[in-house]
């Protein structure tokens, strides 16, 4: 009787331990890839002065190696390390409400600060409140909130801080290119968009993908854009958190199994690509377009039409130089691609690399489309209606930055939720 009880207790504890550890974030691989060391300099006669150490502290919303949003930021940190001698990147990843119970972003930022960070980067929209709270209690510490609008004077969420930078790439262009590639590839005329959560940013990016698709479907494929189906399904966060979000694997499969032969990803991770690859292996003719990270296609090049990606390096490099020079002040920047070469790592904030699965024919047309954009083509021009049919832009009217940034609805012709339903 007694030993039975002990066994009951023990097995219960074991169960509990498993439960608790299951609630913990998945183990990060212990060996982070080392930044490639710069080649050894030839030994100069005079030993150079030791470069001044400068630590960048970065909070990443997902794993640093997510092949998506967070890895793009992480790599940007490594880029600055390479460019400026003495710079060192430290980071905490998986900073989100589910993965690090009991902590807040501002608290984690203080941990970075206590480790000597001179510039704190909050890499996610989700950390907006955390970044603001941190800036309130540490007004002298330079802060960057990527993707936020806190320091945008004309924006609707402006708060005056002394050293609070906002940076964001004009991914609208990247998404338009992605939409174009999808429209020129689809055989069923149905494009699925694997959406993250719903907010201003995701609405305008999804709308951009749709605009690019519509434009290329008509102009380069010679088809009627009214026949193009474009549907977005949101999962509820930037990436899968089991039990809290919809499962992106499931959502991607649903698209692929119901006639949507191209899935564009709007989430931080690569489920769309992975599922398309599996469907392809099972004999389906399908494609996918991942997001955020330049190297994302590598996971399944046979179905990848290319990837629109962020290149945060130059923005962070500038910020580091300003902090070092003592000139860092609050700013808001929304950086477009370098149209002379959108894949220039030193100048372009957003880019697009073509994937192996994009046909030569489609590729040449997408290149023409990119040239059009570079030449000033603007797709946010009226007549355009919101999803519910109410007018967004009158004939010939050009959307302002504010109208695009704070897009309140999806556009007419798109399927899926504009705002969450009750």
């Amino acid at each position: 009787m007694k030993s039975k009880r002990i066994w009951f207790v023990l097995s219960f504890v074991l169960l509990l331990t498993l439960l608790v550890s299951a609630c913990q974030p998945a183990a990060t691989p212990t060996q982070a890839p080392q930044p490639t060391q710069p080649p050894a300099e030839p030994q100069p006669t005079q030993p150079p002065a030791e470069p001044e150490e400068f630590i960048i502290g970065m909070l990443l919303v997902g794993p640093y190696n997510d092949r998506g949003w967070s890895q793009a930021h992480y790599d940007a940190g490594l880029y600055v390390e390479k460019k400026v001698p003495g710079v060192k990147l430290i980071y905490i990843d998986k900073v989100n409400p589910a993965d690090r119970p009991g902590t807040t972003p501002e608290q984690l930022a203080e941990d970075l600060l206590s480790k000597g960070a001179k510039l704190i980067i909050f890499n996610s929209d989700d950390m907006k409140d955390g970044a603001i709270n941190f800036a309130r209690s540490h007004p002298d510490v330079p802060v960057i909130h990527a993707s936020g609008d806190t320091s945008w004077k004309e924006g609707v969420n402006y708060i005056e801080f002394a050293k609070f930078g906002n940076t964001m790439g004009k991914m609208e262009y990247g998404k338009m290119i992605a939409g174009c590639a999808a429209a020129l590839t689809t055989k069923t005329g149905q494009i699925g968009y694997l959406g993250p959560l719903i907010n201003d940013e995701t609405r305008r990016l999804t709308a951009s993908a749709y605009l690019g698709a519509k434009y290329c479907y008509e102009k380069y494929a010679g088809k009627n854009p009214a026949d193009l189906k474009f549907k977005v399904t949101w999962i509820g966060f930037w990436f899968n958190i089991p039990g809290f979000t919809a499962d992106p694997t499931q959502v991607a499969d649903d698209f692929l199994n119901s006639g949507y032969d191209v899935v564009i990803s709007g989430i931080d991770t690569t489920e769309a690509l992975v599922q398309a690859s599996k469907a392809r292996a099972a004999g389906k003719e399908v494609w996918a377009i991942p997001y955020d990270y330049e190297g994302a296609c590598a996971e399944a090049p046979e179905v990848c039409l290319g990837v629109p990606y962020f290149n945060w390096g130059p923005a962070y490099l500038r910020a580091v130089e300003q902090v070092k020079a003592g000139t860092f002040k609050s700013y808001f920047e929304w950086l477009g691609p370098d149209w002379t070469n959108i894949n220039n790592h030193d100048t372009s904030a957003v880019g697009y690399v073509f994937g192996d699965a994009l046909s030569a024919d489609a590729k040449s047309n997408v290149e023409k489309f990119i040239a059009e954009l570079a030449g000033g083509l603007n797709l946010f021009v009226g007549p355009l209606n919101y999803q519910d049919g109410t007018p967004f832009l009158a004939d010939g009217e050009v959307a302002t930055d504010l109208q695009i940034w704070y897009l309140p609805q999806l556009l007419e012709g798109m399927e899926g939720q504009s705002v969450p339903s009750n």
């Binding site: 007694k2 002990i6 207790v9 023990l10 219960f12 504890v13 074991l14 509990l16 331990t17 439960l19 608790v20 550890s21 609630c23 913990q24 974030p25 183990a27 990060t28 212990t30 060996q31 982070a32 430290i90 980071y91 905490i92 990843d93 989100n96 409400p97 589910a98 690090r100 119970p101 009991g102 902590t103 807040t104 608290q107 984690l108 203080e110 941990d111 970075l112 206590s114 480790k115 989700d126 409140d129 209690s137 959560l197 719903i198 907010n199 201003d200 949101w234 509820g236 966060f237 958190i241 039990g243 809290f244 979000t245 309140p408 939720q417 705002v419 969450p420 339903s421 009750n422």
Partner: protein, 348 residues
């Protein structure tokens, strides 16, 4: 354990010390396997935990809800109940608190009053959810482990639904949480710290009350009788059902307060994992201290320190913070294991 003879008490302490050593050895092996330098790890946890006054205050911030949860669990454990539903009870406390604040925010009531009502609402929310577990057990004959586990899932689902549905931020559909409350509805903290003396005091009062209840009252004695042998207690005229219900409700009350603290003093909004796992952690603390209130406070403090200290691991050593969970879990396992070994040895 007051009846224990001195020699067996010493052997008990010896076994406990052995258990701690084994847990440390086990965690060290885990570190070695993952290629980390254990000394560096322990050193980082230590500096991460007590390296600065802000850190120490952060430990106390984590200690408060953990202490509340542990205090409540000591009551249910004493009554022989496995209140695994405590996570859901914390969550419901947080939901009720958020609800009260949302309703009262537009009114002219002074913030202090709104915050107070928020705490009361949180306590009621926790009691409500614990009461459901109790009713399921008493009238539905559903074991409290299964009832509690089920209600935990329901509580999470409810949180998600509220965040995406009725309580969503305008135009936003994200699981990241509800709109933060304005600054005046934040529980006041010490200047420069995240620590609120008020919630800290609440945690301490809770554990003291539980200590006194279990130590020196008729109620505590009867609760123990119910826990040791419900049938015998019933035959001796103790209304066991009522005592079980009381234990659940009191535990729910404290869990609800823990949830209220999470909303009012830590997150200032409702987030999906608002309980932060303090319920399960509290169970581990309670088991580790063999359900004695006296030791619950320092052990809970130690666990909170491990949680805060381990934040440093990913920064410096690229190790996962959940390593502290390994240490916590193995501590409980080995202490229980050693307890079993001691009993077997002393019996023969």
């Amino acid at each position: 354990m007051t009846t224990m003879k001195t020699s067996s008490r010493w052997s008990g302490i010896g076994f406990q010390a052995l258990a701690v050593l084994l847990a440390l050895a086990f965690t060290t092996i885990v570190m070695l396997i993952s290629g980390a330098d254990p000394l560096q790890v322990y050193q980082n946890i230590l500096t991460g935990a007590v390296g600065s006054p802000v850190k120490i205050a952060d430990i106390l911030v984590a200690w408060t809800p953990l202490l509340l949860a542990t205090a409540g669990l000591l009551l249910t454990f004493t009554a022989g109940l496995w209140n695994i539903g405590i996570e859901g009870q914390i969550t419901l406390g947080a939901i009720f608190t958020t609800w009260a604040l949302r309703v009262l925010q537009p009114t002219d009531l002074p913030p202090a009053l709104i915050i107070t009502i928020g705490f009361i609402a949180g306590a009621l929310g926790g009691m409500f959810w614990a009461g459901l577990v109790a009713l399921l057990k008493i009238f539905g004959n559903v074991n409290e482990i299964f009832g509690g586990l089920g209600l935990n899932f329901v509580a999470t689902a409810l949180t998600i639904w509220l965040i995406f549905g009725p309580w969503k931020r305008p135009g936003v559909g994200s699981m990241s949480g509800t709109e933060p409350f304005p600054l005046e509805l934040w529980l006041p903290t010490l200047q420069g710290f995240r620590l609120s003396p008020l919630s800290l005091a609440m945690g301490i009062i809770a554990i003291v009350i539980v200590y006194i209840l279990l130590r020196g009252t008729y109620f505590g004695l009867r609760l123990k009788a119910v826990g040791r042998n419900g049938r015998a207690a019933f035959l001796m005229g103790i209304p066991t059902t009522r005592y079980m219900l009381m234990a659940f409700l009191l535990c729910g009350l404290m869990a609800g307060l823990a949830g209220a603290t999470q909303v009012l003093a830590v997150y200032h909004r409702l987030i999906p994992s608002i309980s932060s796992g303090y319920g399960f952690l509290g169970m581990m603390v309670a088991m580790l201290v063999n359900y004695q209130a006296l030791w619950a406070a320092p052990v809970a403090l130690f666990f909170a320190a491990l949680n805060i200290g381990s934040i440093q691991l990913p920064i410096v050593l690229k190790l996962d913070s959940s390593l502290s969970g390994v240490l916590q879990g193995s501590l409980v396992l080995f202490v229980l294991l050693m307890d079993g070994v001691r009993r077997r040895l002393t019996r023969s």
